[in-house]
Symmetry: C2
Subunit: 412 residues, 2 copies
């Protein structure tokens, strides 16, 4: 999308699609972000977008879809041998809506097995010795490496925010329950949330606006620094970088929410994943990874403990956690990306997912290994507009100071 | 299942399956309860059950599955031309668990289009001039007509309790959220609940116990008669029959919950169905029925109204509604089955579904047309054990007084 002449506009979607396919062609051998690319289908869809008599708000944007989300006629294998050959009959509603708004679906991105822990072959584009994080590994990597404008992911613990941090892209998890999960693998329905990755906050705002029609809001007035009980798990670079930006944003320190939230999340997630994946556990146990098989097996969570966990969550004092602030800032992950072979620790994202709060990660510094660090912002339920406006504000300041997001400063 | 000799036990599942298939063969031409019957698959599964080295708690029971719920390798067309040829890759977890417990899946039962209003061809087995109710039409009819021991249904407004009432069978809707909805069409995820139909309460208790392992509870001590704001919509026979049984159960009258609950349910359901069926509305509008197309079209519910509806629901005073009682009794429907061609009015079930409360319908009298009337019982969340025990208690009294459920008295 280099200009805006009439000729360019007439082939906006086709150009973007060709560019995406060329980039994938050049880079996929190193990155392994994709499990299926549908070049013909994407070009056909792009032609329709360019021919549309309406001006489609997302025309010119290309999309990758995590392979636990249905795209009609494409595979949906959820990173598991059990689903080998499984095809989606129709688009997930969120995919259908994005297509109708002008986005072109290029293909399906690699995911950890059933969006849990066993990572796919995807490499971190910043340095292929490192993990892109997970479980939305391919989506984060595909956006980071410039294959597509955006990619859908899902978060049950930290599967959007953590890979966004590791890959140096923007990852957005909307308020729980606001976008349909039809056609999306259900892992833990009390917390599962669909969101997406983009290179910059502006593109996330553009997509959100097209989907919701919501009016933009101003950025947060009061920001809080929330170290969380996991602060000591963050490495030095992350801690320094978060403290520095918190100071520059005049963020006041708030008390860390109790570690009980992590136990509550673990109880709900394990109980629900046992229910949701019962078919695979009962009928194809030998095709599950050891980690997932172990997780789903063993003693069940009692109904009493499960209900107590839901109750704890529902009566948790979110207002006290915000302490009068509009948005909280925390580390997006423990630090830079971990080595290839694991997906990293979601400890900074887990309580946010449990509470259903909208959150966004954006790159804001560089660690000692030269890999990006991500900042996590959290808002109250349904304060998504203010959240993304705050992220845009911070991003704009970073760009103003450093020229671009590609030249962020070393934290240490 | 006529006896319990060793020979009988060795072929318990096969006998039950053969009996089911024979009955379907004899009756289906009149009833149209099924959209797919897999005789070979059912026999194979039955052989495995009979050969199992374990004593399976549900061996000898046959199952029909509403055609909005996945059974691996079978169709799942949701009563819509849009899903023509759609096949399920794997079992819904609830189906997988019931199979593992020894139940044999005989086939898929007819459903209203996308579990909404447009009825399938299914007839009420008690009198084929009448509707079996909906949207779980085929499941209710298949059980009522003795095709299978049980059938899965779903309820978003009144799609289990109403057809149970119309067909003279037991219909059970568990507490919201307690059984997985993976592999089940999502219509309105804040209220959608999977449940089932059986001929008697005993079989429902047997299935529930096998699935949950929960200890049985005693029946309700205190019962309340809840006329609801729709009392005047119930016909004379229903009103008299409910008043009579309430008196015999020493049920004290409670205040009717506000009619606002119906508006709140309508707001949530319409907003969510628009989201969940967005793909069909965007991509195949011409293949939707006029009623569904009209429902999904038109002005959207605003986010503000939707969130206000969820808030109203979540802060509704359920305790005040129960007024110290353990179980409430209400009509299961407005009266006897309506004429073939419509599915009837869910007004007595809607607020119960909205509040996520467990409920059960059981036949308890006969109306002026000679068709059954159903009584609805409602308990607090997670009081399912007490609810079904109460239903069993009432059923036992009816049988003791009238010889069998097939000879219930005329209400008027």
């Amino acid at each position: 999308m280099k200009g805006s002449s009439i000729a360019d506009l007439e082939s906006l979607a086709v150009s973007a699609t060709d560019q995406a396919l060329a980039r994938i062609d050049a880079r996929e051998r190193s990155i392994h972000a994709w499990v299926q690319v549908d070049a013909d289908g994407a070009r056909q869809q792009a032609l329709l977008v360019d021919k549309s008599s309406m001006s489609l708000p997302l025309a010119g944007l290309t999309l990758g879809v995590k392979d636990i989300i249905d795209v009609g006629g494409m595979q949906c294998e959820c990173g598991s041998a059990i689903f080998k050959g499984r095809q989606a009959f129709s688009d997930a509603p969120l995919v259908a809506r994005l297509k109708a708004l002008g986005m072109v679906v290029v293909g399906k991105t690699a995911t950890a097995e059933f969006a849990y822990l066993s990572p796919p072959e995807t490499r971190n584009p910043v340095d292929t010795a490192y993990s892109p994080g997970g479980s939305s590994s391919g989506s984060a990597a595909a956006v980071a490496d410039g294959h597509v404008s955006a990619a859908l992911g899902t978060q049950t613990a930290g599967s959007i925010l953590r890979p966004a941090s590791f890959c140096g892209v923007v990852g957005y998890k909307p308020t729980y329950g606001r976008f349909s999960r039809v056609g999306v693998l259900s892992a833990s329905p009390s917390v599962d949330t669909v969101g997406w990755f983009t290179k910059d906050v502006k593109t996330t705002i553009r997509i959100r606006k097209a989907l919701t029609g919501a009016m933009s809001a101003g950025p947060a007035v009061r920001l809080g620094l929330c170290r969380t009980v996991h602060w000591s798990k963050a490495n030095e670079a992350m801690r320094l970088a978060v403290e520095r930006i918190a100071q520059r944003l005049s963020a006041s320190e708030v008390s860390s929410p109790t570690a009980i939230l992590d136990d509550v999340h673990a109880t709900i997630m394990r109980h629900e994943m046992r229910e949701e994946l019962a078919t695979q556990f009962l009928q194809s146990p030998a095709l599950l990874s050891t980690s997932l098989s172990t997780y789903l097996g063993g003693d069940p969570i009692s109904q009493t403990d499960y209900l107590a966990a839901l109750d704890y969550r529902d009566s948790f004092d979110v207002e006290a956690m915000f302490a009068g602030n509009d948005v909280l800032v925390t580390p997006g992950a423990c630090g830079e990306a971990v080595a290839f072979g694991s997906t990293g620790d979601p400890c900074f994202n887990r309580f946010v997912t449990l509470l259903g709060l909208p959150s966004i990660a954006l790159p804001f510094a560089v660690g000692t290994k030269g890999l990006p660090l991500g900042l996590q912002l959290i808002a109250r339920k349904d304060q998504d507009e203010m959240l993304v406006a705050t992220a845009a504000h911070i991003e704009a300041r970073l760009i103003a100071e450093h020229g671009s997001l590609d030249s962020l400063p070393f934290a240490v």
